[in-house]
């Protein structure tokens, strides 16, 4: 019964979203009242809510007659992971996707934007929603009935049952991805809406900031999950799923910067970046959801792949046609001074676009190469370390320049850069003479010191009256990124690890830390079998404690999961993984690693997200003040001055 109900909610959603698109189109073209269209949009959201609720109910009630529950539910699974298993597999996560998209559409529908711009934007958002509803209904319907219903299911993938981050990482990531549909739709609606369209950039900025903050947090949580669960001690492997989240982040970051200052002169950039961000979201969805990257042949196994590819192509076509109708480039004339915010924003855009291009071609390359060469060539981390990483270090260095851009006088500007520059050189000298972290790490340390010293100067200097929240936000986000860079460089350059098979009583060392194997224990129950190694861990600072990393085998999915023990500290993490156990229980293979500065990654990620939220709040407060004052001051992000 739940199966039929679920399918019905999807059908209702499809109907509502299609209707919404048509009604909003009427509003835009013939000036019909917006109320029915708004109702249809709300209907779409309610359908998505109902679909999610039905599937959650089926999961919690262990209704194995529903296909998704039969494939991903399990009686042994704890309640928390039963709830999160909604997004542990493709078909269910599409419902969460619809829920978030419906939420954005409903929020956007309630705004009082210029009528035609608003209506065209809603047409595009509704059309995207309708597309995903139809996809969910016909191609990946989680509600298909199963006859006969099995008595129990395998539960979600064991890797997704290990960490509470599973509860927030996917929803945040989706909030980030789908938030980018708003700037995309606004950018494409602007040329259709004629005169009203000039305002689109000012309207798009808060949505982009919100989406970008969510995306940042989502990526950070994903890295944390990978570090804490996968047991290999790393947090970023340049795999297609990770790259798919990084790509829109890069272009959205560039977009947030090109909308600063006098964005009118960068009209083409703004349109292109707003479109590119959501197109990359769609492309990433296609790449990761169709199985196309794993193998070209997996792509046609389900109708989802060709459908998503069709959507990507359609969206690219729409963007090319509509964005091409925008205003022409301003006539050439006097050049910007070299040290100006305008130049900095453009250089930033160039670098981010190039990084995105490298990551994109690296991700899709296997797809292109397989039909051309016949062999499966995949692109490893080495490629990204030689392309994206050097560019990122240059970008980091340039992030230290903004303090100098706030003054006109060139001598004063240079003076402002003197102290950060000295700090950078000193850092490089000290770090490079005391240790040998390698060239990329050393330059990253120097660049990070440059940025952090500049940020500190801005915090303590406090010149020119009350600082604007946007400036604080940028200081916060840039400092956060510098911390992330220090964390990445430090953990990759100074990590020490050891791995070998130990008999009971033997000791394994890595750096100043060591573990001694006390015993090996087996246990079974709760749907899995576990082996645990009891260890005495002596950390680098001399603290001792007992730890027990485990190896869990899930028969239902025939997968073994390593459960590492991570002792988190501000300066270093101690990371112990159990890799294998001898049949007689007399020895175990262990990996011990000391990863310095990893905690900076998480702090930095939080700071960047905080910066985004602060900019959002600051912008809202300023808009509120302006609305109260009743003035129509020059908008920050005016699209095209008349």
């Amino acid at each position: 019964m739940l199966a039929d109900l679920g399918t019905a909610t999807l059908a209702a959603g499809l109907l509502c979203a299609t209707l919404a698109a048509l009604l909003w189109l009427r509003v835009a073209l013939v000036g019909a009242p917006a109320r029915p269209a708004r109702l249809a949009t709300t209907g779409g959201l309610l359908s998505a809510v109902a679909a999610c609720a039905v599937l959650e109910t089926a999961l919690l009630r262990h209704d194995f007659g529903v296909r998704f529950v039969a494939e991903n539910g399990g009686r042994q699974v704890p309640v928390f992971y039963t709830v999160t298993s909604l997004w542990s597999a493709l078909d269910g996560s599409l419902l969460l996707w619809l829920l978030v998209l419906g939420g954005y559409a409903a929020l956007l529908a309630r705004r009082a934007y210029p009528t035609r711009l608003h209506a065209y934007t809603m047409v595009l958002v509704s059309a995207v929603a309708a597309f995903f509803f139809v996809l969910s209904h016909v191609a990946a319907n989680p509600f298909r009935a199963v006859h006969p219903a099995p008595l129990d299911g395998p539960g979600p993938n064991p890797l997704l049952q290990q960490h509470p981050a599973m509860g927030v990482h996917p929803p945040l990531l989706y909030a980030g991805y789908l938030g980018l549909v708003v700037p995309f739709a606004l950018a494409l609606a602007a040329p259709l809406a004629g005169r009203e369209g000039r305002d689109w950039l000012r309207l798009a900025r808060p949505w982009t900031l919100a989406a970008w903050s969510a995306l940042t947090a989502g990526i950070g949580l994903g890295a944390w999950w990978s570090y804490a669960v996968l047991g290999w001690g790393g947090y970023w492997a340049w795999d297609p799923v990770e790259n798919a989240s990084l790509l829109p982040w890069l272009t959205a970051t560039a977009f947030l910067h090109t909308t600063l200052g006098r964005p009118a002169r960068r009209a083409g950039w703004n349109r292109a970046l707003a479109c590119a961000s959501f197109l990359l979201v769609l492309l990433g969805t296609f790449l990761t959801r169709s199985g196309a990257v794993a193998s070209v042949h997996a792509f046609t196994d389900s109708p989802l792949g060709p459908m998503l590819l069709g959507l990507v192509l359609l969206a690219v076509l729409a963007s090319a046609v509509l964005a091409g109708r925008g205003p022409r480039r301003p006539a050439p004339g006097r050049a910007d001074p070299l040290l100006s915010r305008g130049t900095a924003v453009l250089v930033n855009g160039v670098l981010l676009a190039t990084i995105a291009a490298a990551v994109l071609i690296g991700t899709v390359f296997p797809l292109l190469a397989e039909p051309l060469t016949g062999s499966r060539a995949s692109v490893g981390p080495g490629y990204y370390q030689r392309t994206a990483v050097p560019l990122a270090i240059v970008l980091l260095l340039l992030m230290g320049v903004p303090p100098a851009l706030r003054v006109r006088d060139r001598a004063e500007a240079l003076r402002r850069l003197a102290l950060p520059g000295a700090a950078a050189l000193a850092t490089m000298a000290v770090v490079g003479l005391l240790s040998r972290p390698g060239l990329p790490a050393l330059t990253a340390f120097g660049a990070a010191a440059f940025v952090l010293a500049g940020a500190a100067g801005q915090v303590t200097g406090r010149r020119g009256g009350a600082a604007r929240p946007v400036r604080w936000a940028s200081v916060l986000a840039h400092a956060g990124l510098a911390l992330v860079a220090v964390g990445v460089a430090g953990s990759s350059a100074y990590s020490q690890s050891g791995e070998r098979s130990l008999r009971i009583g033997e000791t394994l060392r890595a750096g100043d830390a060591s573990v001694r194997l006390l015993s090996v224990e087996r246990s079974a129950g709760g749907g899995d079998m576990a082996v645990r190694a009891r260890l005495r861990l002596v950390e680098a600072d001399g603290r001792e404690r007992n730890v027990a990393p485990a190896l869990r085998y899930h028969p239902a999915r025939d997968t073994a999961v390593t459960v590492p023990v991570i002792d988190t500290g501000l300066r270093r993490d101690t990371y112990v993984t159990l890799l294998a156990v001898a049949a007689d229980g007399g020895s175990a293979t262990l990996r011990l690693a000391v990863n310095p500065l990893v905690s900076l990654l998480w702090c930095g990620g939080a700071l960047i997200t905080g910066g985004g939220l602060l900019a959002l709040a600051g912008g809202a407060a300023r808009r509120g003040r302006r609305a109260k004052a009743g003035t129509s001051a020059v908008p920050v992000g005016a699209g095209v001055p008349a």
Binding site: L14, T18, L25, L29, Y120, F131, V134, L135, H137, V138, A139, P191, G194, R195, A264, A267, W269, T300, D301, S302, P303, M307, P327, R329, P330, A331, P332, G333, A335, D336, T343, L346, V350, T354, A357, A358, L368, T373, S375, R376, A377, S378, V379, G380, G382, Y383, R386, T387, L425, A426, M428, A429, G432, L433, R436, G438, L439, L442, V640, P641
Partner: protein
């Protein structure tokens, strides 16, 4: 003032010297002090997905690490070792793809994007921030005039387009979805597959039964020959003879039919067998089983356990 300047310059020189020395120190091969690890990191584990030989825990990667260590100990250069592996595993074994052929795309695309976007940036930076030209307002149905017939037409066209897109997506999804469940639906194919598996497990009687079931649904001489062969191997020479004769009545010169009949006759009426087998050799002297049959006719003992093992060629496809 001058002292401050001199002091500043001194500090700057000291810092530059320190940082420069640090950089020079870092360019050395200190990053990966172990050449074995460096070479292993540049090789891709052939049994894994996207893991290098140095990171992978698969046994073959462990062996490859050992080979690298051995060759490094023999004093071979990293390039020589990598070439050795490429000879055996192909270029996919290199973690960093070589910069030629299709792999040039990996470098060409970022460079082209850098050039293209950089050019756009230079043009934007050189431009005056002055007023830009607006798109002609009447360029489409979005004209600012009152809603008219054009707008209504545009609405109808757009809504038809949207609905048609949704409908075609739904139809296409069904179309694409179909082949998967349709494939195993042919009971004959399933029965033949099962029978082949049984044959491979040398359960010939069960395989013959399976072939019999498949034959009931699809009377086909190729299947009949398989059945005859399975019967022969299961020891039912009489059944094999009957079935192969059945085939031979329709196509008297079928080499496989003659082969099975001849082999079966060795059990049922040994006198006729050599004649049939000679006939087989006359019809198909190049048959894969011909050599074995010649030996058999020459009087050599059968190779395995009394049951001749050559398979009919038609029954292998």
């Amino acid at each position: 003032m001058r002292w401050r300047r001199v002091l500043g310059a001194l500090v700057l020189v000291a810092l530059l010297a320190g940082a420069g020395t640090a950089l020079v120190r870092s360019t050395g091969p200190a990053g990966r002090p172990d050449p074995v690890e460096a070479v292993a990191a540049s090789l891709r584990c052939p049994a894994c997905q996207g893991e290098s030989v140095v990171d992978s825990r698969s046994p073959i990667a462990a062996s490859m690490r050992q080979v690298v260590a051995d060759q490094v100990a023999q004093g071979r250069s990293p390039d020589e070792i990598r070439r050795w592996f490429v000879q055996r595993y192909g270029e996919e074994v290199l973690a960093d793809p070589p910069a030629r052929g299709v792999f040039l795309l990996l470098w060409a695309v970022p460079v082209l994007v850098l050039l293209g976007v950089g050019y756009a940036a230079v043009r934007t930076a050189r431009s005056r921030g002055g007023p830009a030209t607006c798109p002609p307002a009447a360029a489409g149905p979005a004209g600012s005039g009152p809603p008219g017939r054009t707008a209504r037409r545009a609405w109808w066209a757009a809504s038809l387009g949207l609905v048609a897109t949704m409908a075609s997506v739904a139809v296409a999804a069904r179309q694409l979805d179909r082949p998967a469940p349709a494939a195993p639906a042919d009971p004959v194919a399933v029965a033949v597959r099962l029978a082949q598996d049984l044959e491979q497990q040398q359960r010939y009687a069960a395989a013959a039964q399976m072939y019999g079931e498949a034959l009931r649904d699809r009377p086909d001489d190729a299947l009949r020959l398989r059945l005859a062969f399975a019967l022969l191997r299961s020891g039912d020479a009489a059944g094999a003879e009957r079935t192969s004769r059945d085939v031979l009545t329709r196509s008297p010169d079928s080499p496989d039919g003659l082969l099975v009949l001849g082999l079966a006759q060795r059990g049922t009426r040994p006198a006729d067998a050599p004649g049939t087998l000679r006939q087989f050799l006359a019809v198909a002297p190049e048959h894969p089983a011909a050599v074995e049959i010649r030996r058999l006719l020459a009087g050599a003992p059968p190779t395995v356990g009394g049951t001749p093992t050559p398979r009919p060629a038609g029954a292998t496809g």
